[in-house]
């Protein structure tokens, strides 16, 4: 016992546990923050989960273009707990993106980015983008046909950067085309470069919490004035502050642990995303789409008018970053309470609704031709006229069905044609089919006069 005590005394003296670390853990925080303040620490919990499961996955993963896919098969189907590890890492990424998003919204709604916490916001913005970059590169490391094609799509996006676009795209792929060098690069970014930056920034972000204190819950009418804020804050801490550990920390730990348990639960129930075909860019019968948290961006690119898109792909992200970085300087003092900042709340709600709407659209992808659409069965064609029957066959064969819904069959890109016979005369139908327009190709050069007559006859029976 005595020996233990002297060992403790020695360690405590040399490491400064009671002198330096405990006071940090016990630093006073404003009371009353309660549950709205747990999302930042939940993000940190997710990050730790990602690091731990990520390290475990590197024990199994082969980061070469020729072997990665096989090792993923091995991880998913043979390795001890491999499947669970992959699933936890996947749901952990989802959880982290979600928590980062909620944390950021909370900080915005309670205006915690105002004086003196501007740098906390700015480092947070970088952390947000690093988290997304981790999500994207991680998805590529799945290195199946979806991963390969996602890399191509990313290269095309950076290709829109003015002047250096093509170089940036080459740099991303590691060459002129996808190849062995591409995966090596993504692997290095995902497991070394980005984590190093993340750790540094997280450390900085946390240091700033200690330096400037956690923002107190906003009170309507209590304005932030840079001249007096710090004094008031210190006075408030002296009067009503409580030690972070354990009076505020228990909520963080409880919520963080619950988050992790939820992630593991989801992982065990749903498993990791299935692998698609092997990573050959010659495999073209594939429909590349990112994981859910990048689907809104994906959907945006599909919906944007083609004319402005090239510009928006570049200007959009740049503008977003600039606005986010400028925010704490544009509004560094004044009212913090959401009750007095209705526009901020409204804006946040709009962003969330917009994201969820884009996500839903991204999941349905109504703009994608439905390549597996089946020809209408005779019962639905419902006609004995051989011309109509021929037209129904052609409607499938010519790819019309990929984009047009008829009696519940077909895609959603174009207008539904179940009752088109009521809307359009044969003449109008002919003009649209031959000339196309908008998202409809001009079939004039593709379809013969006889075929056209059959298709029109078929469509005229749709009433």
């Amino acid at each position: 016992m005595k020996i233990l005590r002297s060992i403790w005394a020695w360690l405590d003296d040399r490491l400064g546990i009671s002198d330096t670390l405990l006071p940090l853990a016990r630093h006073p925080v404003p009371p009353g923050a309660k549950w709205s303040y747990v999302f930042g620490s939940a993000t940190l919990f997710c990050l730790i989960l990602q690091v731990v499961t990520g390290v475990a996955l590197t024990l199994l993963y082969q980061p070469t273009s020729s072997e990665a896919y096989k090792s993923l098969q091995f991880i998913s189907h043979q390795a001890v707990f491999g499947r669970s590890l992959r699933a936890i890492h996947y749901f952990g990424a989802s959880g982290m993106v979600l928590m980062v998003g909620i944390h950021m919204l909370r900080v915005y709604i309670t205006a915690s980015y105002k004086f003196p916490r501007e740098m906390s916001w700015i480092s947070g913005v970088f952390l947000l983008f690093l988290t997304l970059a981790m999500g994207f590169t991680g998805q590529l490391l799945r290195w199946d046909s979806n991963g390969v094609w996602s890399a191509v799509v990313a290269a095309e996006q950076v290709g829109r950067v003015p002047v250096i676009g093509t170089y940036a795209a080459r740099l991303l792929l590691g060459g002129d085309t996808i190849g062995g060098q591409s995966l090596s690069r993504f692997y290095s970014y995902h497991t070394l470069l980005f984590p190093a930056l993340l750790f540094g920034l997280v450390g900085f972000h946390l240091y700033l919490v200690l330096r400037n204190g956690v923002s107190e819950p906003p009170v309507p009418g209590r304005l932030v004035d840079p001249k007096t804020y710090r004094q008031q804050y210190q006075a408030m801490l002296k009067k009503v502050g409580v030690p972070f550990w354990p009076y505020a920390a228990w909520r963080d730990i409880l919520f963080g642990s619950a988050t992790i348990i939820a992630i593991i639960g989801l992982a065990l129930i749903y498993g990791p995303p299935e692998l698609t075909q092997p990573p050959s860019p010659a495999t073209i019968y594939t429909n590349p789409a990112p994981d859910w948290y990048l689907l809104p961006v994906f959907a945006l690119f599909a919906l944007m008018p083609a004319k402005i898109e090239s510009v928006v792909i570049f200007v959009g992200p740049v503008l977003t970053v600039l606005v986010l970085l400028a925010l704490p300087f544009m509004a560094s003092s004044g009212e913090r309470s959401p009750l007095r900042r209705p526009w901020a709340v409204f804006g946040s709600v709009c962003v969330v609704v917009f994201m969820v709407a884009l996500l839903r659209l991204g999941l349905q992808a109504p703009w994608s031709p439905k390549f597996d659409a089946k020809a209408l069965p005779p019962t639905l064609v419902h006609s004995a006229d051989p011309l109509v029957l021929k037209g129904a066959g052609l409607f499938a064969n010519k790819g019309c069905l990929y984009c047009h819904l008829v009696n519940g069959h077909g895609g959603h890109r174009g207008p539904e044609l179940t009752e088109v016979g009521r809307r359009l005369t044969p003449g109008e139908l002919r003009i649209r089919i031959v000339n196309g327009g908008g998202n409809m190709p001009a079939y004039g050069g593709v379809i013969s006069e006889k075929e056209l007559a059959a298709v029109i006859a078929f469509l005229e029976t749709r009433k």
Binding site: T64, S65, S66, E67, Y69, W143, W149, V152, V153, E156, Q157, G159, P162, G165, T166, Y167, A169, R170, L171, G174, G175, D176, T177, I178, G179, G180, S182, P278, S280, P281, A282, T283, I284, Y285, T286, P288, F301, A302, M304, A306, E309, S310, V311, I313, F314, W367, S368, P369, F371, N397, K398, G399, Y402, G436, G438, N439, M440, P441, G445, V446
Partner: protein, 188 residues
């Protein structure tokens, strides 16, 4: 000021070196040493930086060769037909596996002429499919559609499909010249 205080209290903690030496008269020597240390640090950083930055920028610095690849023989491609052909990129590394493959849509226009389209959609690079019945190329990602000559028919693509060079080598070998993945720029 601080020197006097120190003189009065010899037991006090040692003066921080800065404060003590701030008045040392040998300024030029000190100046030189600072410059030397910074300079040497710079040289060291540069010496490390050149190879490291070069490794990062390697894809831009190295030569990117092109190569003729055989994709089939004349008898494989009846006149008027369109085929998906696979080929190996120009300069694959040994550990590429199947990822160094590429594909193209090859059409035999006549006895002697061929057209080969890149499978990459000019919108965001997704692989377009040739739909024989429709006579159109269609993109699964955002519904871009191209006519059979590769020009845009509908949807978001800003320009037509890129083409590969094709030649008939010897009596019947059909060869394709490999090329970079076409990157659409903002000006397109």
């Amino acid at each position: 000021m601080s020197n006097e205080a120190n003189a009065a209290a010899p037991d006090a903690a040692p003066t921080p070196p800065d404060a003590a030496e701030a008045h040392v008269p040998d300024e030029p020597r000190r100046d030189f040493l600072i410059k030397l240390s910074l300079g040497l640090g710079g040289v060291a950083a540069l010496a490390v930086g050149v190879p490291v930055v070069s490794a990062v920028l390697a894809p831009l610095l190295q030569k990117n060769p092109q190569a003729w690849r055989k994709v089939g023989t004349l008898t494989d491609f009846p006149v008027g037909s369109t085929h998906l052909v696979k080929f190996e990129n120009a300069d694959p590394v040994a550990w590429s596996g199947v990822s160094s493959e590429s594909a193209a849509w090859l059409r035999r226009d006549s006895e002697t002429t061929f057209t080969a389209f890149s499978v990459n959609c000019s919108h965001l690079g997704c692989p377009v499919r040739w739909e024989q019945g429709a006579g159109l190329f269609m993109c699964p990602c955002h519904g871009g559609i191209y006519y059979k000559d590769g020009s845009v028919a509908a949807g978001p693509p800003p320009q037509g499909l890129t083409q590969y060079k094709i030649r008939v080598n010897g009596p019947h070998d059909v060869e394709l010249l490999t090329a970079p993945i076409p990157i659409t720029n903002i000006t397109s």
